[in-house]
Symmetry: C2
Subunit: 226 residues, 2 copies
Amino acid sequence: MTPPTPRQLAREETTARIKALALEQLASSSATELSLRAVAREIGVVSSAVYRYFASRDELLTALIVDAYDDLADHLERAGRPDRRGARRRWLEVCGALRAWALAQPHRFALVYGSAIPGYAAPATTIEPAGRVVRAFCVPAAAAGEAAPGTRGDPLTRALTGQLAVTAEALELDVDAGRTLLLVGAFAQVVGLLTLELNGHFVGGFEPADALFEALVADRADALGL
Amino acid sequence: MTPPTPRQLAREETTARIKALALEQLASSSATELSLRAVAREIGVVSSAVYRYFASRDELLTALIVDAYDDLADHLERAGRPDRRGARRRWLEVCGALRAWALAQPHRFALVYGSAIPGYAAPATTIEPAGRVVRAFCVPAAAAGEAAPGTRGDPLTRALTGQLAVTAEALELDVDAGRTLLLVGAFAQVVGLLTLELNGHFVGGFEPADALFEALVADRADALGL
DNA sequence: CCACAGAAGTGAGCACCGCTCTTGCTTTCC
DNA sequence: GGAAAGCAAGAGCGGTGCTCACTTCTGTGG
């Protein structure tokens, strides 16, 4: 392994600067308003120079998305790390961490869980870090507890059971189909709540939405037998 | 009431044409890509002429959003209209109608429940039709059934109970706090599921997501005592 | 040590965008 | 019939993403 040349170092630093500046700009506007030209202007370089680092605006966006997934996964893993707290407590805190992260940087949440950018098709690069997030979300709730969805005795269809098994497998989670179903449902609920909250659908009703969020998360913890 | 002059008629027709074309364009790209100029080009008019009908791009978007809410609310109301079907069946069909609507016109779903457009702040005009939607979602589940969230005996906080009551009041629903909580949770879950599904987060896991959706909705129906 | 390949940065340019403003034409209303 | 209001046109401003031919810089191998 040859040591990195100064040039490589410079390149990495410039790349990081571009990403940081882009993120900053994103924070004060929105995904649509990310302007390569503005970023270039701010790092004191002509717009076309940025294309040495990112082939297109979409590629920059993708880099930011991957970073966001990774950062979020880190947060969740930290909040859910195994320790003396009980499983319920840990899971509740993971949910809280997810909301805190989303509230602190709504633009990043929108980037990963908001509506798709124009023609933008998420490249395969993003699916692994995206998986890390939902894995971190599920882990504390996977270990302990007995529970099954209350599907009034209707057994899950074979197809669904299969999909659930595949998903659990892909996330390296050792949980049965019923529990996986509940976990996916809980994740969707949290994403939905945050989507609604961040987009102002709760204005006039739930503001702040802290209590609402906590009550619903507690309800899901109960259902999961935590 | 004087009869509408030809000019007024023409104006309405042009307005409708603009909206229709804009929607069409939206369907094949995304909210970001709605171009006033392209719309103008397509109806065979110079770009500045469109500003006689909508003061800005945002105003056009707002009009489309209101239309979308109204259309969705119509669909849900139709799916949930009281009849010989039981409450459970009706509510399940409302959920199904919501998903069907979203799958059939993902761009419109993104418009109303996706991440906020750039600097766009939803004007007050949108909150009433938005309310219609969630009301239609709740109505079939409001009437019958006994159920409470499984918050392990922890009573809801006073603040939350208040918020829930205000919300139920605003939606003209006669339901207690616990039930309102579950309904809001169910709505968030459905929105979350659709957000994830439409943005490709289920690729490789749940595809199609029909069975997943149905199982989770059935689970919520159980919790609601339907 | 220094020439030279390749990387980094430049600047002009293309086609597009939202939006404004002036300038005429047409319809409505008194 | 004439004034007022509505409508469309077209030029223009400042912005966007992206390309390309060009120069400047720099690290390395002979």
